[in-house]
């Protein structure tokens, strides 16, 4: 009985969004407003688009920020769209984003939330 308990989340999805440096804050805020609970941002360097924009290419920052947000499958479409619109990704040079299915995730889940979930699953629906 002394085995440690791990709470594993299923139905999780990863949204990754690559934007110019300095834009990540805006994207993360929009994702929060749409229901995301956290985000990881790291730096990267991008290439490919500047050459195709001609002189305007200088306006595109080479340094990028990669925003990664784990969301539930129910939320994913809504958050994905919100982030797309917030980042104005329909302009060339602004970035790219994609969804990756995840098998499992594990993190801290508040005990009261767990208790509520367990209570609900015991009730006959």
């Amino acid at each position: 009985m002394s085995k440690r308990e791990i709470i594993v989340l299923t139905d999780v999805t990863l949204i990754t969004c690559v934007v110019q440096r300095g834009v990540a804050d805006k994207i993360v805020k929009a994702a929060y407003a749409a229901g995301a609970q956290g985000a990881t941002v790291h730096f990267a360097k991008g290439m490919g688009i500047r050459e195709r924009l001609g002189l305007l290419g200088v306006a595109v920052e080479v340094e990028k920020e990669v925003v990664q947000i784990v969301v539930s499958e129910d939320q994913v479409e809504h958050i994905f769209e919100t982030m797309y619109l917030a980042g104005e990704l329909n302009t060339p040079g602004m970035g790219i984003m994609y969804i990756t299915p995840l098998e499992k995730a594990a993190t801290y889940v508040p005990p009261e939330v767990l208790a509520r979930l367990e209570a609900r699953s015991e009730e006959p629906s």
């Binding site: 195709r52 924009l53 002189l55 305007l56 290419g57 479409e77 302009t91 060339p92």
Partner: protein, 583 residues
Amino acid sequence: MSQIRYGEFLRGMRSRQTVVSYNELTRGGPAPQQKLKLRAIDVERLLAPYLGTRFYEQVRTVVPLALYLMLFQLLILRQDVADIWVIVAGFGAVIIGLMLFMEGLKLGMMPFAEIIGNKLPKKSALPVVLFIVFLLGIGVTLAEPAIGALQAVGSIVEVTRAPYLYELLNNRAGTLVLVVGIGVGCAAVLGTIRFLRGWSLKPLIFAALVPTLGLVLYIMWDPELSKTLGLAWDSGAVTTGPVTVPLVLALGIGIASAAGKGSSSLSGFGIVTLASLFPIVGVMLLSLYVGATTDTQTIIATAQAAQQAGDATWLTRTPVAEIIGGIRAIVPLMAFLFLILFAVLREKLAEAGIVTYGITLALIGMIVFNVGLTYGLAKLGSQSGGLVAGAFAEVGVMPGSPLYSVGVGVMIALVFAWALGFGATLAEPALNALGLTVENLTNGAFKKRTLMYAVSVGVAFGIAVGILKIVLDIPLAWLILPGYAAAVLLTILSSEEFVNVAWDSAGVTTGPVTVPLVLAMGLGFGNAVDAIEGFGILSMASIGPILTVMATGLWVQRTAARRAALRGREAEQPARQGQGVAA
């Protein structure tokens, strides 16, 4: 209670999606890299943040300073700003010019410095590398925007009162800048050797101070030559600006890391210190040379002859003079960088188009900045410098002066200078960066804010002392010798980190906006109170932060040590430990 699944609710709100298979896009082999067609909104979305952030960056440093000077003039001195629209346009030119220049520097010059710094040490022997570093030191000095201020204020000096100073600033301005450049070049070489060998900065500082202060001791006894001391010490502060520091550092760090010695957290420091001390020696030697070869009568006679001849040829008129100045600043440096890259390294540039764009921007920016320097910074600076003097002394252009009694008036002038120094320094973006570095370096013991305030207070007192020096006509040597004696004492007591940070902070504070403004203000002020020369304020502004930062450093260390001792005793109260060593 009706239940709706959240997912279904969201699906109802969803916007229209068009699904395209990526296979469709990539079908038919590798597509040629074609240019994209942009809508107007795309251009706007791309350009607005690009231009906006860069514009705002400069506005943030320039506008508060200009507003402060103008409001002080209007409210405390009750004088209208003369030629206000010319000055406003001048400041606009400063903002645009700096914005273009900084972007050009980043895109057009930094790639060179990085490639050269990485590749040169692998291909050439150390003496060759050091020689190139030396030449680069001269090149970057010519390209430093603030260096133009020396020439711009040169015309304010009166030839009869300080003939050697006039000679240096007007007829030998080119030589003066070259000597300053040689000083920076030597500093870059020595700083690079320091990176490679991991020398401590302390002995280097002492070794550099011996000839510097020795020359001061020698020159201060010559009544004519001693008037050039202020210029010599101020030119040290002028050199360490936005071109020199990043370019020389990129090279030095590249060389050090190629030798496998670039990992020390302190690498990067020290060059700035040496680059502000060596030019002082150079300018003092130049003034000794001028003093030995020319006598004052000849200078005065030539200058008066030139003035009578009416020297405003088309070459010295706006905008031709500024364009020539801009080309003279950028082209030698770029030609030199190209030569090294293609002739010595035989490398190609990765993004030639963007580099060309950067160089063009830097050139245009320099020209626009020079126009702004003359019509904005120098004009407003000398105007308010002259009017501030009207608070306590009689000034010709200001009816009703002195406005206040001598005591109150001098106090107002000092408070004005103090606040100017404090505000201008705190707004300097380079100081913010230095603060971050220092906080990391000391593991948070020396907070960023602490450093920023220490430096700003140092500069503020420095500028106030500089004004006082002009009011009371104190020879600059009397201030420099005790000031640097105190600095030496603190250097002996302080640890290596704080010595590095403190001596470098002096160079960091003097940006391309502050330097011309303070120089022009000092000279205008000096003329108004009938002082012989108005230089020296910047040199006081350099020694100030050295003293305050090292003193703060000692204080931080002592409190940290005391807390550590206390914590050892109160080991049974571990809850308090997390509160750290915040000063």
